[in-house]
Symmetry: C2
Subunit: 358 residues, 2 copies
Amino acid sequence: MKPIFFTPGPSQLYPTVENYIHDALEKSIPSWPHRSEDFKGIFRDAADGVRKVMDAPKETHVFFLGSGTEAMERTVQNMAEKRSFHFVNGSFSKRLFKTASQLGKQPEKIEASPGQPFDFSKANISNETELLCFTHNETSVGIKTPMEGISKIKKEHPHALVAVDVVSSAPCVDVDWDAVDCAFFSVQKCFGLPAGLGVIMVNESAMQKAKVLQEKGVSIGSFHSFLSMAEEEAKSQTPETPNVLTMYLLGKVCEDFQKIGIDAIKKETKEKAALLYDYFDAHPVHKPFVDEAEVRSDTVIVAKTPQGSKPLISKLKEKGLVIGAGYSDYKDSQIRIANFPAHGMKDMKHLLDEMSKL
Amino acid sequence: MKPIFFTPGPSQLYPTVENYIHDALEKSIPSWPHRSEDFKGIFRDAADGVRKVMDAPKETHVFFLGSGTEAMERTVQNMAEKRSFHFVNGSFSKRLFKTASQLGKQPEKIEASPGQPFDFSKANISNETELLCFTHNETSVGIKTPMEGISKIKKEHPHALVAVDVVSSAPCVDVDWDAVDCAFFSVQKCFGLPAGLGVIMVNESAMQKAKVLQEKGVSIGSFHSFLSMAEEEAKSQTPETPNVLTMYLLGKVCEDFQKIGIDAIKKETKEKAALLYDYFDAHPVHKPFVDEAEVRSDTVIVAKTPQGSKPLISKLKEKGLVIGAGYSDYKDSQIRIANFPAHGMKDMKHLLDEMSKL
């Protein structure tokens, strides 16, 4: 029996993916030239599919990158000359902040205590802020920043652009496209695909900003600047030879998601999350790391393991159930369980059942 | 019957790759966490394999990127503050030059006429030049810049670093590691893998330069700066979640190459190239684009099609043989035929046979 991976990404492949890989090999897709008409079809299917499952306006640009981490770099490069403001509540929001520093920007931030929501009223956002950066789902500690909060901040700062990291929540997230100018994700989380592809979705305001920066002589990168990617996107192509196989798989999985219905997928995700949180709430030791129910992540469930995460992880592994350790400093004191569309209700109940027996 | 792809990349998969993909799925490799011990094994196999087939010193850093195009950006970012000097003889060497401009450097160049070798004596390389950029195999027009020439220029300019694009020649190239500080490639060419992975190999001089630039406050990028990648490399990891599946495949194909022997692979590559050039030399119309035999590419053979490339491409496609059109402006007036390790002698003779019949 193959193990089931509940790791927060890379994670379990979506159940249809293996067959799609076989189909792709049968059709020789990995050999298709990336300037061919056939490839353009793959590009369109992936980009249209992403727009649909993300419920994005049809004019939203969809660009393909190497990873969600690359998306952080491209976001900051193209959307801020100097001032970005970051809502930091874990390792990935911190990474985006650090990226801005590394690229010579002058980022500012508000930091929440680990596992605690932001007190938005304390965010000291100056009028010079060009870009507001949020991490919708902090994969490191399993906390979310509800979209309503993001929309509210945007209303208070209409002149700033908004970028949202939805790496481990897309497409199980209701993005407010009136408030969000840029959203990015990687495919090895909720899309249940092999890693090696990042996706960044941007609107015209983000494109305009990139243009202004370029005209000012600010470097917005080279082949993966928004402008360079948009030029190729207009031809249903990419500047470089991209990860064609995974783009194909992304288009197919987006089709599957649409057949089931994104609302149904979101609903089941919340139901599975509720089962997990109920289990941990009732557990004498392994309590959820995040106290407030409204900000608990739906897709990455984090529980405390004060007696160490290793014994639990090992015992479950013996039963063919692979869960994740805490992130970085929390490696031993937390476990992380992914709750992605690839994890069916049956799998989740099986995991809970086996955890109960330990 | 599946077609055989002689396109210059993406191209035919190396014959063992499909089975390795099946093995990888059987082992759940796409689900393996990128911070696990199992992943570290994949990292080491790929990095060690690359060093071996490239005959690189064991202390050479091997970093993994999204594409060869990304490697251009990272090379310029990390190896030049201002002055790079470029040997431009086609679209890809031009792209590297353009990348330097886009990143705010002040690149200089010598340009060769299309299909002609460089007159090295005319290269006006100033003493301020920090980085010399060569394209060993210009995929766009099928011309190579012999390694001896690169070594000679390095000897004349010992204080400049040398970066070589070996995108479509590695590992069928004898890199002079005494002269070369950085070499990069992508895996969908001679390695016969699905696209979506670039590899950049750098020595300590390149690392030192990146350090100096960072200390000076010059931006060397963020997650994919040489320093950031080296920090993770020391743990057999990558800064981002990388293309794990293709890294696994790369390690396996490097093993295959070593079993056959890299010298044997290089020898057969030259033999197949000779057959193709002999054919085109003898052809009344479809002459090789590059006249001088010493600089004709071994791995991407380009021939002129003054009556248009389309009829030839279409007729061969009907026979299940997919060759490439000319690059960009040469789309109609040239054809390109990849001669990679995935293309066996039998395949090549079959292609020649079918071309003869047209």
